[in-house]
Assembly symmetry: C2
Homo-oligomer: 326 residues x 2
């Protein structure tokens, strides 16, 4: 297996986040030969630790000689990361991220590492607000690689959910909502921690509880703080809820619905008849699909891993093109 990877390896894709890194061995046709991952995310590393962490993860893939392009998106390019790849301000052409990539110095001669930049947005009279992303821009580039000239609204659910407005393959503006982090803090650190549990939506009653909560929060977002405390009060008083673990799952589904419903309330004026493109994991995108549906909006999904590989592949294609041109 390792021999086959070594023989066919054309380049390496890396998504380096705050708490972990994922890497893919890619062949000449951008097919995945192998996968690897590590828990050495940005928060666990200092600048000198990146190259060793990378070699530990992908060292087995490297052929004996030759130099392998390694395209990296995410927090490795942050100021506190391996080396800063400064944010590109919006509007930004997604097909040109690689032009702003930086190449950190490495000791291993077989590595040709490039860190892709994130995007930033400054407050302006047109209603843009300060915002940053690092990693998601590469998934957006992946969408554009698959659908050149893409125009529309894209949502990348997660700890910090991103919404991006794309026009002809450029990001014109974007908005980050703290949704996933709010959910996690409330479920595990607040007074609600004894009342809610993470819930699968196919558990009895959970889908209905989730959808009802989406509707409530999006209809009255100002009552979010009240709706939250209401979960605790319902746990104490609501006789219609099941008991035990089923009760906490139901309330957990409701908490998830409140958090996503609040986010959709904020996006209401931007949602239209056009389908929202969701990029991310199936589980999380399913929640957003349900939530959008409850408010009368269509969506479609692009897999998160497919998007990041297509985005990094776009950078690699540019490099290959350069090589062919020279």
């Amino acid at each position: 297996m390792s021999d086959e990877v070594r023989n066919r390896l054309a380049w390496i894709a890396v998504d380096w986040g705050s708490s972990n890194l994922r890497a893919w061995a890619m062949d000449e046709r951008d097919e995945v030969l192998s996968r690897a991952s590590s828990d050495k995310g940005m928060l666990a590393l200092t600048a000198g630790g990146y190259e060793p962490a990378l070699l530990e993860t992908i060292g087995d893939w490297l052929p004996a000689t030759g130099r392998v392009p390694v395209w990296v998106c995410g927090m490795a390019g942050a100021r506190q990361g391996w080396q800063e790849a400064a944010y590109l301000p919006v509007p930004a052409r997604l097909g040109e991220l690689a032009k702003a990539a930086v190449a950190p110095a490495v000791n291993e001669p077989r590595l040709d590492v490039r860190l892709l930049p994130g995007l930033c947005q400054h407050a302006d009279p047109a209603g843009r607000t300060f915002d940053v992303m690092r990693g998601e821009e590469t998934q957006l580039a992946g969408l554009v690689a698959r659908e050149p000239g893409f125009t529309g609204l894209v949502c990348l659910p997660g700890t910090h959910a991103k919404w991006a407005w794309l026009e002809e393959g450029s990001v014109t503006r974007f908005a980050t909502h703290l949704t996933g982090e709010l959910y996690r803090l409330l479920a595990s650190q607040s007074v609600l921690k004894h009342s809610v549990a993470d819930a699968e939506l196919d558990a009895p009653g959970c889908r209905e509880a989730f959808v009802a909560a989406v509707r409530e929060a999006s209809a009255e977002p100002g009552r979010f703080g009240q709706q939250l405390f209401g979960l605790r009060a319902a746990d104490l008083l609501d006789d219609t809820l099941p008991s035990g673990a089923a009760r906490h799952a139901r309330l957990g589904a409701r908490l998830s619905g409140l958090a996503i419903g609040l986010e959709l309330a904020g996006m209401r004026h931007d949602l239209s008849d056009a389908a929202v493109t969701l990029i991310g994991s199936e589980a999380l995108c399913t929640r957003y699909t349900l939530a959008l549906e409850a408010l009368g909006h269509d969506s479609r999904r692009l897999d998160g891993e497919a998007a990041v590989l297509a985005g990094l592949g776009l950078a690699q294609a540019g490099l290959r093109q350069q090589g062919d041109d020279s």
Copy 2:
């Protein structure tokens, strides 16, 4: 001093919360003779620990003989407390809380302890939602003791901010917002923890930052999650902010304004030309006064300690009356 307390002691007032207890030695005219406190709140105690904790705190005040009424509000009356004083459902007459008090068994013959009940609210077609309070009802009773027949909207800011609608001395409904806890979680446990610091509003620019944030959150509560992430982005990008500690204070004031502004957005339909009565500490009530003012609403303040003593005093007055009648 202790002798004077022992000689003049008529009753003892206790506010027993989750994380601490505060006690006051009171004379016959409901004047405070002495104060004491302890960090033995509900979370630090099991049922058997309450009497020793109380004696440790107020034992010095007790005369050699005779039985002293001890009126207790707060979490000591919770199911997980000393002994449950079951919630009274709304509508509830605040002058009659003492009728639902419970008297836990005690070993010390000089103690005559009564735990006041909290209030609960069940969901109903009139728009009430599940809610509970324990402790704040006694402060509301204090307002009614001072202003018999009070009618109006009352706000008790805090970790779990309470809004109560009073009619002729009864609570007809109430709403709890998780505001203070949201602020604390976000300021100390979220991605924002490196960007914000607790701020005094009289620090340069902090009052303005607070008020602007109140306006933004109350105008667009659905964007709360986005406004939160915007604090992080502003910390990274906003050149108009001061640097260092002043920067974090400014952003902390903004976070506080966002949390309170979200709450006021939820209360918007209930706010009118009538002044809101705030009950609580001067620092926190000042923020609410400013926030309400920014949205065009008047308020007035009743001190939180004065309110709880007047509420417990109302219970004691009923006991005294009983004694006189018998």
